[in-house]
Subunit: 282 residues, 2 copies
């Protein structure tokens, strides 16, 4: 496994592999890898000749006052995990390599899909995501790129970007990986103290409660959202950012629960903002 | 020569040629081809194994009240000209193929480079250009893309976009082609009546006058701009949009005339907005 820090070197390497007809897989990450990331890597390893994992904590997707500076990093541990999965290249650029002085080019998906849910509480976040993903796609030129269903809004936006800008890349969605007790894997889980770690289960509990109601025949969006809210409020200090029930395909609003439906929520447990979601087919 | 209307078909074709190691050249145009375009095509033909010319009048780079609807089109004539130059593919998509319903993804270079000069009088114009060029780059996957120096601001912006988004594309600038009397070739010249056609020479005359002053040692930006203005005002009904003397590399402001300098102007002759420019090395 080789670690590459320069965009031009990474691109030149990949162009040569492509000339040989190799199928390239890219797993974009911000590092501090957990079992959720590793599921993406394993999927890429199974599907592609050459697997590139990018590790880059992308400053432009963090807002003012968010956790860019303290976002957990452990490159050495990450590299060991990736060697074990027989990854070929790690692309690990410095911030100045990705955004040199005077940088001013951005890729943006406009509209409700980026302005609601996480977009409402994190303005500019998805513009930062679509910009860095565009850059990574041009640098690594993947045939397949792997994203986790954990960030459901993110992957839906990236799919729209790929379709609308005609990127020659296929997006592969990989299901959420959970701890044994149901907490969705996240690098930010490390912020939780033991009490918060236990209370964080309330997100998954709210989703499973909603899933059960829907399985029992409930179709009223607002009612199910209220029921989810009740579950969250069993942790008195939890602060709900949003609870949404939307069309999975484009995150559009629903009159009633039918078709492929995404249940999604963001909740602050102490200082840590957690997200989770569940897909339901009605 | 084949004419392709579907983005997916074009992309699939190109991916196959790339597997064979072919070097791809793209000449993006809005059609109604003139000798300026043909200089780009000839350059592409000389440098590449496979030459693609795109013909697409891009609605999102036209503002409200601009000439999108009446922009001159003559596909049949264009195709004949391109056959003569042994072009391999013409990519000629419909508007709905490029921008299907619900389309909302844009690529934007922000800052003075896009907000001054043509960007000031045509807000959103360059966002439309960088978006369509990004799409064309992904659809046609060129190794080289050819742009005319006539649209100096456009090609400077595209170079910045390519650099900052890490597109694996090399931009080739091709010098302005002029009529015998000096008028820069433009599809919009067809709008000019005989009197306007004669008066349109004032743009080139102003540029040549400035070039002469600089050759004689003049270094004062404002003085040279005033001198250019005097030349334009010899056509009393001409309306100056802008006259600029800027750093060629990034269109940045200059304290004095030195280095690689771009003299650029936009002037309305009757209803027709014309642009022209000249590079000067001091």
């Amino acid at each position: 496994m080789r670690v590459i820090e320069r965009a031009s070197e990474m691109q030149t390497l990949v162009l040569n592999y492509k000339k040989e007809g190799k199928i390239i897989g890219l797993v974009p990450t911000m590092g501090y890898l957990h079992a959720g990331h590793m599921a993406l890597v394993k999927k890429a390893r199974a599907m592609c000749d050459l697997v590139i994992v990018s590790i880059f904590v992308n400053p432009i997707q963090f807002g003012q006052g968010e956790d860019f500076d303290i976002y957990p990093r452990d490159l050495e541990r990450d590299l060991k995990l990736l060697i074990d999965e027989e990854v070929d290249f790690v692309f690990h650029p410095a911030v100045g390599e990705m955004y040199p002085p005077g940088y001013s080019t951005y890729v943006e998906v406009e509209g409700e899909i980026t302005s609601k849910m996480c977009g409402a509480s994190r303005p500019g976040h998805f513009r930062g995501v679509t910009t860095v993903v565009s850059k990574l796609f041009h640098i690594c030129l993947p045939d397949y790129a792997f994203f986790g269903q954990k960030d459901a809004q993110q992957v839906t936006i990236i799919e729209k970007m790929v379709r609308e800008l005609n990127f020659p890349v296929k997006i592969v969605r990989v299901p959420i990986v959970r701890e044994e007790d149901g907490l969705a894997m996240s690098s930010r889980n490390v912020y939780l103290n033991p009490q918060e770690r236990e209370d964080a289960l309330v997100l998954y509990r709210a989703l499973k409660h909603a899933e059960k109601l829907i399985a029992e025949g409930e179709r009223d969006v607002d009612f199910v959202k209220q029921e989810m809210e009740k579950v969250i409020k069993m942790v008195p200090y939890a602060v709900i950012d949003y609870i949404e029930i939307v069309r999975a395909e484009d995150l559009g609003a629903l009159d009633k629960i039918e078709g492929q439906v995404l249940l999604a929520l963001a909740v602050k447990i102490g200082k840590t903002r957690l997200i989770d979601n569940l897909l339901v087919e009605v």
